[in-house]
Symmetry: D2
Subunit: 302 residues, 4 copies
């Protein structure tokens, strides 16, 4: 109990995504001089580096990953020239991949949900608090249950039924809705398997939350399987979706302690708290360009 | 991503508060034969013990605490006779205190809030999910900000302004609203200090969530103090309210890791997740009669 | 930095295993009146119950598990009559299994090790501190590396080489050494698979520490597999050994956070801290009769 | 249980401190172009950056902290010229502080201990495993109890008694032993208060482990105080020692869950596991130049 209210959200928002900041992700084969070349380019344009994270998976000839956040006055106007310089000094000279993004422009995130609302609600609430630097153009569900809740946050809700084994009509509708409208998709306990065809045509990263500590308990019913095996912790895993069910690159994981006295339903209840926490962290990090995919692995500069 | 939806809430609810269960809390000076006397009484009435937790703070002459949950057919009809037997065999013979309660009757919980909604929303959402065996007759706030949100859960919201140093008018209104309507009160980040007079007249347990790992950072502005001290973890503490600010019996605590890079606002954001988790656990345990007060300590049979 | 040294170990030892305490483990089909019958028997012998934990996996016709610790003067002399009474009132009447043990007699624990010493050393150190109520009649290893360290603790070390696919000679020697000398065996990162024949003939519980969060990464090289999969946590699992590799009943598990920057060797280093912590807890709980096996599950009254 | 032994330590050692690596710590007032100037200097000498961590406590005119690890052939021969260049381009131009160190030369760590051996033993064991890149020229204790244990690791043990209120003779002996022989001192549950005079004359960083989650329970007997307050977690804090008892900059903290059933002695036992873990992490990070002091705060690039 305290006398004065902490006012966390506005300044937290500002601290994380001030107006004139940009992120630059660089990855490729490591070589002597990359960091120097990169910082010279930024310095030449008057950029001030705010944070810099770097990782090389092997000092002798490995892969190189760097996330740089910098401030630059008149950022939007300066981007084309900066891109050209990066292209010349990093892409063409070192064969690196460079991704430059204005952090004041939030990524557009579509959410897919089913009947469970714990992950969905946590994302909507954090978004409203200013904790997630994204816009949410739509929530899509194969059930109407969460419609009212979603709309109470001022977010459009779209019901796309998906019954029977043939998902092609639903997926076609999904693609029509997503096309050019979103930068990434989050499956917030969406209980339908996406086809490889859909994943490819969607063409944006898709983040899923799986309700187990992968690779334990792949597939359906992980809490029932966890009860059956008698584990003492249950967990959750946020990962990028690939064609192989529950096999994509892991972004974040966490666990919670359970006991012999917990039923499978109780494991699900305890696990739900971990699911929403893990998914929220993964979404935040993805939104802030803190996650770099490297084959089936992720580099997370959290 | 899975094929079939786990259906956690209905069975979880049943598992935790089935219709014909009762809880019996016994505490007092330890003596040989108490457990035997107690189980004989229950057995004599045909009760079947579902769970039993017992703690003695000193095998030689200490204090004794026991929580027993049992099933009994026609429970409501059987309670008077059972109470009489407990009175004869435990209260009068051993000087113990016995508290018997029909678990199918939910405790009535009033929530006090201010502007922050993270703890409030988490309680309302868990209640709607069937995770908290309570009824919520009212939410009272000194600000109107959360009114709409509370009412969207179908819960009455009451705005009782409280400005200036004299809280007596507001507290009188609080007492009028609470009188005979609630079994306990939860301060879900309520940013007003309660007077000792109010606490006494309210006459029900009051649970507060303090946004630090007590006894560190007592009083106002704990996240700013935590930043100032340079701690590497921030925490939250749920405790029963007493006249001494932040000094009451602790029910539950937890922490989360932070770093030098986190601003005080970021500490508040990370801490908010711990606050809601800690408060929800404390409320659940209190609602299920799992917390026994012993002076300034608690026995928690979680 | 403090002025006076806390003196933890002697009183901790006493607190956990005072001279005249006994444990009673009861398990079987649940029925109304068991707890009452059990406490009546104890009360009739003048026993004072110090702690009591009970679990029923289903209030309607499930299995019942109870651990009771009690004090009784002249315990050794009283045990035969107490056993006879338990046999009459619980075993024959309710078909329950009763295991009664004088807690002042430590269980005899043999440790099997290989080259790694982190789990072994932690057990030997905790034993010397008085934290583990066991005696350690021998440490057996297939390598001589840890001999000097073991003997510095005053514990006999026995080198039983085990090379080649045929383990029968080594296992015969193991059985000869263990016979009638030990109450349970701990595999403290023992890198040999035990045959089903050995497990059966040994006839005592065998606890293993597996260096992953089972059921993830069963079998050899779990840290390399964890690195390959890109997990964000690594774990360890203590379990009873059965014929099926890494499939026995789980006693305890825990995890630690890792990052993309950790090599497989670094995962092993971080995991080693979890392994020793998990194994030490499992051994303590087994030594204090806190673990009850139920098929492939465990009930842990920790 | 696995078929092949993981061989963690040798490669872990190499991974952390390969032969030709150096660390460069830079701190001071932030300014545009620092990172670029710094990387240009390194690049000009043919250094290859292995890892780079950077933190600025305020993008507008705050303080700047950077840790860079790089490889450079013929490192020892190259250091003087590199130092001169850093002096010209960073120290004189930007007013920064630069600390350059050959990581193949381990820091020399003296350990002070009293009777408790859990923190001491953990450091000695990790050092033997190759997990701590330090040399240990001496262990000093005010009691002879741990002498044999220390010497079994091949480390010199020195007994310097310190009784009575006047510590000046003992401290003079400490200073004589430490002079020019050590780079930092670790108080591994050393139960004597160091005078401000000693701290100043020692002239090297001193790391202490306090057995509470600071700032809770400052001073003597924290576990007894924790029991008295009824906390649900106990913790430990590693910090640099200053004249103000338990007030120095915090390096690392952690906690463990406890319950009402734990005595103060049991809290001490559980806390001891946290103490050794926290101290080991703090020592590792200090040894690898991952900790930068900033007033009463630390920047930890872990």
């Amino acid at each position: 109990m305290t006398l004065a209210q902490d006012k966390a959200s506005p300044s937290a928002r500002n601290a994380r995504t001030p107006g004139h900041q940009a992120s630059l992700i660089v990855q490729g084969a490591d070589a002597t001089g990359i960091v120097s070349a990169l910082t010279s380019v930024l310095s030449g344009h008057g950029a001030n580096i705010v944070s810099l994270d770097q990782y090389s998976d092997n000092p002798q000839g490995g892969a190189f990953f760097q996330r740089t956040v910098f401030t630059l006055d008149a950022l939007q106007a300066a981007l084309p020239a900066l891109r050209a310089d990066l292209d010349e000094h990093l892409v063409r000279r070192y064969g690196l991949t460079c991704t430059l993004r204005d952090l004041s422009v939030p990524k557009r995130m579509a959410i897919f949900a089913s009947k469970s609302d714990h992950c969905l609600l946590d994302l909507l609430w954090r978004h409203r608090q200013g904790q997630l630097p994204v816009s949410i153009p739509m929530v899509i569900s194969n059930h109407p249950d969460v419609a009212e809740e979603v709309r109470s946050f001022g977010i459009p809700f779209l019901h796309v039924p998906s019954t029977g084994p043939d998902k092609s009509a639903a997926e076609a509708e999904h693609l029509r809705l997503l096309k050019d409208n979103v930068d990434f998709v989050v499956l917030a306990r969406y209980m339908q398997i996406l086809s490889g065809d859909f994943i490819e045509k969607a063409g944006v990263p898709i983040i899923n939350i799986h309700h187990s500590f992968l690779p334990a308990f792949i597939g359906a019913g992980p809490y029932a399987k966890a009860k059956e095996r008698g584990v003492k912790l249950v967990g959750a895993t946020a990962h990028y979706v690939t064609e192989d069910l529950d096999e994509g690159p892991i972004i974040e994981q966490d666990v919670v302690r359970v006991s012999h006295a917990d039923t499978a339903a109780e494991l699900a209840r305890r696990g739900a708290d971990v699911e929403r926490a893990v998914l929220s962290r993964a979404v935040l990090w993805h939104a802030e360009d803190r996650v770099i995919r490297n084959g089936n692995h992720t580099i997370v500069f959290a």
